[in-house]
Symmetry: C3
Amino acid sequence: MSGRQIVSRAAEALGRLRETKPLVHHITNFVVMNDTANVTLLIGASPVMAHAIEEVEEMVSLAGALVLNPGTLQSDWIEAMILAGRRAHEREIPVVLDPVGAGATTFRTRTNRRLLEEVQPTIVRGNAGEIGALSGVGGEVRGVDSVGGLSEPEQAVRHAAREWGSVVAITGRRDLVSDGERLLAVDNGHEWLTTLTGTGCMATAIVGAFAAAEDDPLQAAAAGLAAFGLAAERAARETTAPGSFKTAIFDELYELSPDRLADGARLFELA
Amino acid sequence: MSGRQIVSRAAEALGRLRETKPLVHHITNFVVMNDTANVTLLIGASPVMAHAIEEVEEMVSLAGALVLNPGTLQSDWIEAMILAGRRAHEREIPVVLDPVGAGATTFRTRTNRRLLEEVQPTIVRGNAGEIGALSGVGGEVRGVDSVGGLSEPEQAVRHAAREWGSVVAITGRRDLVSDGERLLAVDNGHEWLTTLTGTGCMATAIVGAFAAAEDDPLQAAAAGLAAFGLAAERAARETTAPGSFKTAIFDELYELSPDRLADGARLFELA
Amino acid sequence: MSGRQIVSRAAEALGRLRETKPLVHHITNFVVMNDTANVTLLIGASPVMAHAIEEVEEMVSLAGALVLNPGTLQSDWIEAMILAGRRAHEREIPVVLDPVGAGATTFRTRTNRRLLEEVQPTIVRGNAGEIGALSGVGGEVRGVDSVGGLSEPEQAVRHAAREWGSVVAITGRRDLVSDGERLLAVDNGHEWLTTLTGTGCMATAIVGAFAAAEDDPLQAAAAGLAAFGLAAERAARETTAPGSFKTAIFDELYELSPDRLADGARLFELA
């Protein structure tokens, strides 16, 4: 597909998302729950946060996508993630994993590897450190931040996608998305995103919303990252520092129309 | 009472609330904790969030009202809610229940029914789907959103109030509040409230604060909803999208005086 | 040291903080997690929120400081706090405790006393009620708010510091910081801080970030409180109510340079 086609398909997915308002089930971390629920609503989907083992299977049965984010890891939540993930597979709805802080501690790396194996997510979105650490090609994580990039990120994202059988997105100055064969790049975004907590988690939430409205997970991941990056870019133009920038991102997500996304997405295929 | 009397009594309750700064004990969900604590403070009360079984009875003994919100349900928190709720009854302080997502899963419906029975809340505030599902008169819930309204909401709210022996509030474009006999309506509010997470929970928190300053729970519920709706209405006039709208609601709650509430409340009794 | 020296040392610490971007490990409460992560980032450090018993020791091994905040107390989190605190001691990195609501319930008072004994925090920051209740010199707490100040706060802060072998900070209109001998005062701040939830916790988070960049804990605590108070002061000048004030604090923290801190810090030694 040409870059033009990728972009217009992203805009169509946003149109469908706003029209169908799919339910997105999140099992996510305490830090970002409010923000990820809000961005899910503002982009046009309907979020529900539910983690009790007694209800996750029934809840995911109502949803169009499942987002798993073990950012404030604890063992009983992981069991709920696995239960919900398996049910999502049976129902053939997409599962998006955000392996927050994988690589920082043995427990995080091991747990995220377990989620990769037992849930087989449709899409995995992380920073360079997290994806590198999980797929064993390097990358360094301190806390939840990537420190020291990957020497060959384009190969790393393809490698991880093949290894896991998932679409993989590495976000950073340039976002890279691959299904193991094709490789897309997204150049939307703004440096202030690194000065706020949970912006990676918000990007994952937006990807989850797109995945509920777009059958091709490669296209869904790239479209979601372009939408979030474009909202951030526009928000940065109206503000002078990260506090008001965050508020403006929420405004921009709500105001993002398919036409605006088609005009502003810097989304293309790499050779 | 005439509409005029209801409104002036609401303004008096706000005056007392700001003067006495009652402690409101919340056992609430992870998504909205920060927002509901903030709106409680901004309207003039003092919030405390505490859920440990070891302390909830002692904490509620200091409070003027208890707010229960099982929006991110898990079983140990429910036990704490029941303990705190019983102690609140012994102390004869009002208990406000927000049955988030009742109707969406069996676990949520069953748990909220259990809270209704074992705690016998003074006030229950939910959307049409939640109240309908709980009282068995219809209403549909997807995730935490009401989808498909009640065919006869005025009868439904009266019916639920009689069945549970509680004041019941159904919020939506028009809020309805009943004690089983009288029926009040609140026409304050703004459509952007549906584009943000936790606005229903914030409304419940404000109702909890009013319940600590107003003996008549019918009047407290209606006054709280009018106050929150009026703040939202005014906030919408100053902003262009939901992100900045949310910030402006907080500003407006802080600046809401009894006089302003008396002027702006669209609060009246239905025949 | 003269007031001038204390202030210029505070500015130097901020410079080091922004340069070295230390990792600060938080085990904190559900209400403020998002806000405390954000202020940690905006002042220049790197936050990680992690509470699982399986990983806290490994996580704190990567950190430059540990912040413990049992504001939404539950017993398994306390065990994690103690494990992490002990490991921090072995590594000789500073531990900052925020005894939220100590004095309000027996469970909170007892748990915070246990943390004082078993973790021996480097710095304790609380309001007058919390510090008074914990050290047994009076002070009253209702929920998480101090009601009724200490009759002799300057003696109380010195007394507590000696008793616990920690630097102790009591925040309020004037912040007082002591190591048992010396006594510093910070006059930065704004009254709107009392109308928002979690501003005490944010102050503690900023102190934690400074503690990771400044060896003298007395100096770190005072510098952190001056930085937070100055950001609040400047934010209040640009806004008219607490909602937008909070957003502006975040902007101001990001924009706070060492020079601006040196100019604006009202930080001095009391005789």
